[in-house]
Symmetry: C2
Subunit: 265 residues, 2 copies
C-alpha cells in the first residue's frame, strides 16, 4: 500500500499570504501538509540562514492533514527546521509559493521562494517553486491552481533529477488566456537598480532600493527563455540546478592551473 505523501509548503511572503493559502489548498488534495512560514514577508532573503539570533518556532494550528508553524527565520531556515526537527519523516515533496510577483530570469537569485525550493533539492527532496506575475496582495490564484496541480501530479509520479528543482512562473492572465506550459531556460537579464536617496529628520542620508528588470535577450529571439514564454502567455518552467558549476567553461578555465605560484611539484 502506498503511504500518503507528506508535503512541505512554504513561501517568502509570510503565513498570511493568499498565495500560500492557495498552495496549501492544492497540496491537501495530494497528501498531508506541514506548512511553515514567517509572520512578516521575507522577500529578497534569497538563501540566507539565521546565525546571529535564536530561531523561534510556534505551532499555530493542527488539524487532520495540516500542521502549520510560524518562525522568525528565513524561508531556508524554515525548510531546515522541518527537515531536521519538526517532522518525523522527510517530506516527499516541497512546494514553495505561490509567490506574489515574478521570479523569472535572474530574479531567481534574490528569491526566498526559490531558495526554499533549492534547499529542498540540495536535500534530494523533489521541490517546486511557484510564482504568479502579480504583486497584488489580493491577487486571484484561480488560474494558477490547475497548473500547480498538474506539476504536483507529475513530480509525485516521476520525481525530479537529484539536485534539481523547478522554477514555475505563471502569467497574471485569466485561465482561458493561458496558452499552456513551456519548459525554458533562464533568460539572460538583470535588475538595473537605482537608489532613491532621501534625507531623514536628523539630516542623514539614506537609500531605498528601486529598479527595473532589463532583458539582455535579442528582441525577436530568446524564444526558449522564461521571459519569452511569460510574455507570450505561457506558464514557464525552468529546471534549476543547485550545482552552480559553469561546466561549459571548465576546459577554457584550465589555463589558470598553469600559474606557477607556490609551485613545488
Amino acid at each position: 500500500m502506498k503511504r500518503i505523501p507528506l508535503i512541505l509548503v512554504t513561501n517568502d511572503d509570510g503565513i498570511h499570504a493568499g498565495g500560500m493559502k492557495a498552495l496549501i489548498s492544492v497540496a491537501r488534495k495530494f497528501g498531508n501538509v506541514v506548512a511553515i512560514s514567517s509572520r512578516e514577508p521575507m522577500s529578497g532573503m534569497s538563501h540566507a540562514i539565521t546565525i546571529k539570533v535564536p530561531l523561534r518556532v510556534k505551532l499555530i494550528s493542527q488539524e487532520p492533514g495540516l500542521t502549520s508553524y510560524v518562525t522568525n527565520g528565513t524561508p531556508v531556515d524554515g525548510v531546515k527546521l522541518v527537515f531536521n526537527s519538526l517532522s518525523e519523516r522527510k517530506p516527499d515533496l516541497l512546494l514553495s509559493g505561490i509567490n506574489h510577483g515574478s521570479n523569472s530570469s535572474s530574479s531567481v537569485l534574490y528569491s526566498g521562494t526559490m531558495a526554499a525550493a533549492m534547499e529542498g533539492a540540495v536535500n534530494h527532496i523533489p521541490s517546486i517553486g511557484f510564482s504568479l506575475l502579480s504583486f497584488d496582495p489580493n491577487a486571484d490564484f484561480t488560474a494558477s491552481v490547475p497548473y500547480a496541480e498538474e506539476m504536483i501530479r507529475h513530480v509525485l509520479e516521476k520525481g525530479l533529477p537529484d539536485g534539481i528543482c523547478l522554477n514555475v512562473n505563471i502569467p497574471a492572465l485569466p485561465a482561458e488566456k493561458i496558452r499552456g506550459i513551456r519548459v525554458c531556460s533562464q533568460a539572460n537579464g538583470y535588475w538595473k537598480e537605482e537608489f532613491e536617496r532621501r534625507t531623514d529628520p536628523n539630516g542623514t542620508e539614506y537609500y531605498w532600493l528601486t529598479g527595473f528588470f532589463h532583458n539582455r535577450e535579442p528582441e525577436n529571439g530568446g524564444t526558449g527563455t522564461d521571459e519569452w514564454a511569460l510574455k507570450n502567455g505561457y506558464v514557464s518552467v525552468v529546471p534549476i540546478s543547485t550545482d552552480l558549476t559553469a561546466y561549459g567553461v571548465l576546459e577554457q578555465m584550465k589555463s589558470l592551473e598553469l600559474a606557477q605560484t607556490g609551485k613545488n611539484e
Copy 2:
C-alpha cells in the same frame, strides 16, 4: 594609454576582518580600490537584498588609491550601491573576501562572499570570491596572497565569460605545502543540520543552527571536485554560473509541456 583599473573589494565578514584587509592590500597593487562592507559580519546572508529598512552608507576613509565605505546592507546591497550610486565608473574587477572559512561545494549557496561575486557577474563585471579554510578571526593570509595575485592578474588580462565568476578556496596550509591550483566542479554535498534546542529564561524554546558538511561524492572518486582538490592541498577554482538552468535535463523535462491543463491551442 591604459587607464588604471578600478577594483571593488567587498566581503561578508565585515569591514574589520583580516581577510578583507589582506585582499585590499593585494588589490592596491593592481589599481584603485573602492571598498565596501558592513560593520557587523553578514555570513550566511547569501544573495539577500534589503527591502524593508533604509540603506545607510558612510564614507569612512579616503586616501590616494583607496576609498572605503560601510553600510548596514548585505554584501549584495553593497555591490549594488557601488555600481549604481557610489562610483562614477563601473569597476573593472570585483573581489570578494578573503572569507574566514570555506565556501566550497554547496556552501556557495549560503555565502554572502560568493553572492557578492555573483552579483558582479550578473552585471558583467569580472568577479572573484576568495575563501580561506580557517574560521580563525586572526587567520594568517600570507600563503593566500600569491594565489590571489595570480588570479587577479589572469582575470584583469583575459577577463571572464559573461555571467560567470570564480569561487576560489584556499587550504589553510603554509605556502610550501600548497600544491598549486586546480580548476574544479562543485562537489555534490550538503549541510546535515542539527538544531540545538534550548529554553530561554521565560521558558520559551528556541533553536541554534548547528551542523556538519556531508560529501556525497564517492570516497575514492570526486577527483575533479573542489572538495577533493582542497583535501589534497590544492587551491580550488570553480567557475560559477549565474544562469541556474539545468541544461542537462531540459529535454527530459519537456514531458511537462504535454500537460493538457488550460489547453486552448
